[in-house]
């Protein structure tokens, strides 16, 4: 019971916020509820295949393959793969974290995993097409050109900012979550 409460405490807090909002402004609370229901539907549509794919990845891709292609010393190949896989992704950013966790567990380097998350967040191809149409080629292409080196630099800085115990912490977390 207690464990369940701890696991769901963040969700319970958000529900409590919703209740407080309902007391203050019923209209806004109803609107929040309908937006939540709408996003839930969207998540239920996109998330299942992502998790099935990460399950398959976890089972089928051997560790040494991941290390060779995206691990330490994978060099440009690893960077390129991280950008490409991230860009081919679908779904919201929070879908990237569980996939990134499996990459990390399988031996991809921290830097490449961060590049993957960065690419997933900003250079997703389907989103780029949308952006190109709505905001024009100058906007979309400039952003793409600035973002790719930006993602790589951010990932490099992020890697530098982590000491060994941070890394160990993350690996432990990730292993627990993808057991």
């Amino acid at each position: 019971m207690n464990k369940l409460f701890i696991r769901y405490r963040f969700f319970l807090i958000t529900l409590l916020m919703l209740v407080v909002l309902a007391l203050v402004n019923t209209g806004l609370a109803l609107k929040s509820f309908s937006i939540t229901a709408y996003s839930l539907r969207e998540v239920l549509l996109v998330i299942p295949p992502i998790f099935v794919l990460l399950g398959l990845l976890d089972i089928w891709v051997p560790r040494h393959t991941m290390v060779r292609f995206m691990g330490h010393g994978s060099g440009m190949k690893g960077v390129l793969l991280a950008v490409l896989i991230g860009s081919a992704a679908a779904g919201p950013l929070y879908g990237a974290f569980p996939v990134a966790a499996v990459f990390l567990k399988k031996g991809a380097s921290f830097r490449n995993v961060f590049i993957f998350i960065g690419a997933w967040s900003t250079t997703k191809i389907p989103m780029l097409l949308f952006e190109y149409e709505a905001l024009g080629p100058r906007f979309a292409l400039t952003r793409l050109l600035v973002d790719i080196p930006g993602i790589i630099v951010i990932s490099w800085l992020l890697g530098l900012s982590l000491n060994d115990s941070d890394r160990l912490d993350i690996v432990r977390k990730v292993e627990k979550l993808t057991k």
Partner: protein, 159 residues
């Protein structure tokens, strides 16, 4: 896009099933376990998204992004982009309308960039995997980087 995702998943699942049934069952079990592990955080993020978007509706966003120009407007736009979670197919047309109504490219670029890279609402999911320190640094770097994106996009639209 969702169709491609499903097609790819079904094909890979079929190949996996053909090659090894037991491994496939194991993969599905892993998928379910991974999903179940993060589900509480996902649920919280969804409710939070609902609350934030009901308060920060299109009108509010337009007001913040449309009125203030210059640096103050850019900072405001970056903050709005950081705390909202809108799918691209809604965000881009909205941004386009704002541009037509006189919003600056620098502000819109800051908004679009932080919207995609910075996730305040999804923070609880991120720390579950990467811990507080990494999540804070990643979001902070992405936030700062978005200003560079904004300046460059603003600049290319003036030349």
């Amino acid at each position: 896009m969702t169709i491609i995702l499903y097609t790819a998943t079904v094909i890979l699942l079929a190949v996996s099933l053909y090659k090894d049934k037991q491994k496939t069952v194991k993969a599905i079990k892993k998928a379910w376990k991974a999903f179940e592990n993060i589900m509480p955080q996902f649920l919280g993020v969804l409710v939070l998204t609902g609350i934030v978007l009901s308060i920060m509706n299109a009108e509010t966003i337009s007001r913040i992004l449309g009125v203030e120009s210059g640096w103050l407007g850019t900072i405001g736009a970056a903050v709005v982009g950081s705390v909202t979670l809108i799918p691209g197919f809604v965000a881009f047309p909205t941004a386009s309308i704002l541009l037509q109504n006189g919003a600056g490219y620098m502000q819109i670029a800051a908004f679009v960039s932080t919207l995609m890279m910075v996730g305040v609402i999804t923070f609880p999911v991120e720390i579950e995997y990467f811990g507080v320190k990494t999540a804070v640094i990643r979001n902070l770097l992405a936030f700062l980087f978005s200003f560079l994106v904004a300046v460059i996009i603003g600049w290319v639209h003036t030349v």
